[in-house]
Subunit: 78 residues, 2 copies
């Protein structure tokens, strides 16, 4: 069974680069990658916060958060 990976972003240029390169590089045979745009899906900001996301872009793998560069603070999104 594939593991779940969630990539949270906010559509900023730093986020787009990370999505197109880091998230894209993940092995789809082993991981189901969900991409969540918090600017459009603001209802999921609470989920991101609960997962430990402080800024975007961020990748949540195995319930651990990996902040990738810095696009925007979660607190600025809502």
């Amino acid at each position: 069974m594939r593991q779940k990976a969630v990539f949270f972003h906010a559509g900023c240029p730093v986020c787009v680069a990370a999505e197109q390169q880091v998230a894209e590089a993940i092995d789809r045979a082993r991981f189901e990658v969900e991409v969540v745009h918090l600017g459009e899906a603001s209802a999921r900001i609470a989920e991101a916060r609960a997962a430990g996301v402080i800024s975007v872009p961020a990748l949540v793998l195995h319930e651990q958060v990996f902040h990738i560069n810095f696009g925007a603070a979660l607190s600025d999104l809502g």
Copy 2:
């Protein structure tokens, strides 16, 4: 042909988590992932700096640097 990805780290706990999870999740069918421990291979610090690495752990993909969380500043390594 597989593309090259380089994961620079310094053996710190933040680095190890990122290596075991983010670097490990990369699709080996498409990417050749080289892991460089800058604490042991200090000769490669200049290469990391030239690639734009400011802190480790960092992943260099398609000549772009993605800093993952924060383990140590490159300037503290040498």
